[in-house]
């Protein structure tokens, strides 16, 4: 293996590489949640969906030898979880947050149960595109090895941002999310729209899980997610329900998460626990800086149970 001494350049490079590598599950889960919340529901169960998606993707990839079939399986599993949540929540007086927590525990538990035989075997990885091939430096090549799912996630963020503003479907989702009464007056059924929005959100979270187990870190273990699904749900609020904001916030979290290891690797070793807390401190600062006592959260859908 050839090595080049890159010294302190390792830090920005690791943050760039980390942003690309670590952010993808955040992107998918937060985009999925953005769709769901824009329709007026909160699905806190996406952590469970993420873990179940990771497990089902890995299991199917091991059994069939195709990571793409694994990805499909994760999306379908996520869709089922989302539809289940949407279906239960359509009954009167059901609290979507409570159902979400229940589904989170159910999803992780079910994933552990079915995932047992798949901890040992190795599954094929999803392919990556070597955007760093122009460089002779192996570190740059490694950092710019971009997985296709990251690119799909980026494109999806732009598409959703455009679609929410400019398409009929986007308008329907927003109307249902802002005022169920107005939606009914227009002849729309809010429950159907929310059911579908939650289903799509679940499918995206499942894809995020597939990225975890099939690309980075690239194996199925029961602790693969370590709360990333929950963080991603919080990111949506942080991003003000804007898909482009979700994408940016996910990148920020990925990059900040790479900061701790990268700083230690160049010899900044004091206080690494503090660096590991960096993403959360950053979130707090931004939340405080952008909050206001005189208005509600900008961009919050009116029907959301946390803003009502």
């Amino acid at each position: 293996m050839e090595t080049t001494d890159i010294g302190l350049w390792g830090v920005p490079l690791a943050m760039l590489g980390g942003a690309i590598r670590v952010s993808t599950p955040f992107i998918f889960v937060s985009l999925g949640e953005a769709i769901t919340e824009r329709s007026g529901r909160i699905n806190l169960g996406l952590e469970g969906t993420l873990v179940f998606g990771a497990m089902s993707a890995y299991a199917v990839a091991v059994m069939t030898g195709s990571p793409w079939l694994g990805l499909l399986a994760a999306a379908v599993a996520g869709l089922c979880f989302g539809l289940f949540h949407g279906w239960i929540c359509k009954f009167p007086k059901v609290n979507d947050i409570a159902i979400g927590i229940a589904l989170m525990l159910f999803g992780t538990g079910l994933a552990f149960f079915f995932g047992k035989p798949f901890i040992q075997p190795s599954a094929p990885d999803l392919p990556a595109i070597p955007f760093g091939a122009w460089s002779d430096i192996p570190q740059v090549q490694a950092a710019l090895n971009v997985n296709v799912l990251f690119l799909i996630g980026a494109a999806l963020a732009v598409f959703l941002w455009w679609a929410f503003r400019n398409t009929r479907v986007g308008l329907i989702v927003r109307v249902v999310g802002d005022s169920a009464d107005a939606a009914r007056a227009m002849g729309l059924n809010p429950n159907t729209v929310r059911l579908l929005a939650t289903g799509v959100g679940g499918a995206l979270a499942g894809i995020g899980g597939a990225y975890l187990s099939l690309y980075y870190p690239g194996s199925w273990t029961e602790r693969i997610s370590s709360g990333q699904g929950l963080m991603a749900v919080a990111l949506v609020i942080f991003a003000r329900w804007n898909p482009l904001g979700c994408f940016a916030a996910a990148l920020l979290f990925g990059g900040a998460g790479a900061l701790g290891p990268a700083l230690q690797s160049v010899g900044v070793t004091q206080g690494y626990y503090l660096f590991y807390a960096a993403p959360y401190i950053l979130t707090l600062i931004i939340m405080i800086a952008t909050s206001s006592p005189s208005r509600t959260l900008a961009g919050a859908p009116g029907e959301l149970s946390i803003t009502k």
């Binding site: 090595t3 390792g10 690239g218 194996s219 273990t221 029961e222 290891p261 206080g271």
Partner: protein, 375 residues
């Protein structure tokens, strides 16, 4: 007069559950019931028992007992270090009839295992770790542990021969004495080959954080490390990430060579099979079980993975020679003159600490040549 028939709800449940279990067992397995096991041994793991790491090492030890005449095994995995482990122990004792229990995770000891020791004085408990103290703890409790530092020293010897960049990487969980000893041993092993070698350590702060471990491995390799090892609960992610980047790997806890057969050099593994066999033999013979057991390579508590195909001739020779010397006993990894990486003297000329030395159990330094900090 009804007092005699008054049962607490718990006792009622207990009795009926035991009755049901007995009925089921004798109905479903008449042959096994006839040759009832002489003793049941319970194993409790904090994570999945096939994690390529800490828990797998214990589970392999437990699995090795399955052929032993008169012994049956019960296992439970993913048991948190909370009151959950007490429930697990109770059910192993009450429903499975376990007479010896091995709670294998550090946090099970106090207060959980101690509470069960008091509640079930006839059951023996042996905890993996070094916490049992004869003045403070009951006699049906005990500790067993292995000294694996010399295994990391041998890892270092092979790594020192293999590295071209003269930089090694270590992904560590938390800066506790056992982890620090492993980091130091790994570097000192490598320095026995070439004193110019350095080792970069990255602490992830947790025993199991897949994404952070992968990031740490990438960061180490970005900085030029070409042989990587680790001390985390499940080395699977580190091994796969490092192999994916083209670096060599020294394993830890269990044998990870199936994950990267070409890149795996060797590894420091626990050999719990030997320890569990020892306890079970005493149990069958009706002898009192030892309360405090420790051992290293020479005692068979620790073993090395077979050397991989990438290990060169010179490395093989020094590995074998060092191993042979260790097997004689009395080998010291930490010996003077030795300084910490902050410049403090940790061992003066002529001073040597064998693996059982009590000083090593409060290690709070990284030796010269390790790049990293304990806080």
């Amino acid at each position: 007069m009804t007092g005699k028939f008054m049962l607490s709800r718990r006792d009622l449940l207990k009795t009926s559950a035991a009755g049901a279990a007995f009925g089921l067992a004798s109905a479903a397995f008449p042959i096994r019931a006839a040759r009832a096991a002489a003793a049941t041994v319970g194993f409790i793991y904090v994570g999945p028992k096939d994690d390529y790491g800490y828990n797998q090492a214990h589970a392999e030890g437990a699995a090795s007992l399955k052929g032993v005449e008169g012994i049956s095994i019960v296992e439970e995995e993913n048991v948190p270090e909370t009151v959950d482990v007490q429930k697990t122990m109770e059910s192993m004792i009450n429903l499975d009839g376990a007479s010896l229990i091995f709670p294998t995770s550090f946090g099970y000891f106090d207060p959980h295992m101690l509470a069960m020791c008091a509640k079930f004085p006839d059951v023996q408990f042996r905890h993996c770790g070094g916490m049992w103290n004869k003045d403070k703890h009951p006699m049906n409790a005990g500790s067993y542990f292995g000294y694996i530092g010399m295994g990391q020293y041998l890892n270092g010897v092979v790594a020192g021969h293999t590295t071209k960049s003269k930089k090694l990487g270590f992904v560590a969980a938390k800066p506790i004495p056992q982890v620090l000893l492993n980091v130091n041993s790994f570097l000192l092993g490598a320095r026995s080959v070439d004193p110019a070698i350095t080792c970069q350590v990255i602490f992830t702060g947790e025993w199991s954080l897949a994404v952070k471990e992968a990031e740490a491995t990438n960061a180490l390799i970005d900085q030029g490390a070409d042989v990587v090892t680790c001390h985390v609960d499940s080395p699977k992610v580190v091994v796969e990430t490092a192999a994916g980047r083209g670096a060599f790997i020294c394993g830890y806890h269990a044998n990870q060579s199936p994950l990267a057969p070409e890149k795996y050099l060797t590894g420091a593994e626990w050999n719990w099979a030997k320890v569990y066999k020892m306890f079970v033999d005493d149990l069958i013979a009706g002898k009192p079980l030892p309360n405090f057991t420790r051992g290293g390579l020479a005692d068979g508590f620790v073993k090395m993975s077979p050397l991989g195909p990438a290990v060169g001739e010179a490395a093989r020779k020094q590995f074998d020679a060092t191993l042979a010397e260790m097997m004689k006993g009395g080998f010291s990894v930490i010996k003077g003159p030795l300084k910490s990486n902050k410049g403090a003297v940790v061992a003066t000329e002529g001073q040597a600490f064998v693996e059982t030395a009590i000083e090593l159990e409060s290690m709070d330094y990284l030796v010269e040549g390790v790049v990293g900090s304990t806080a």
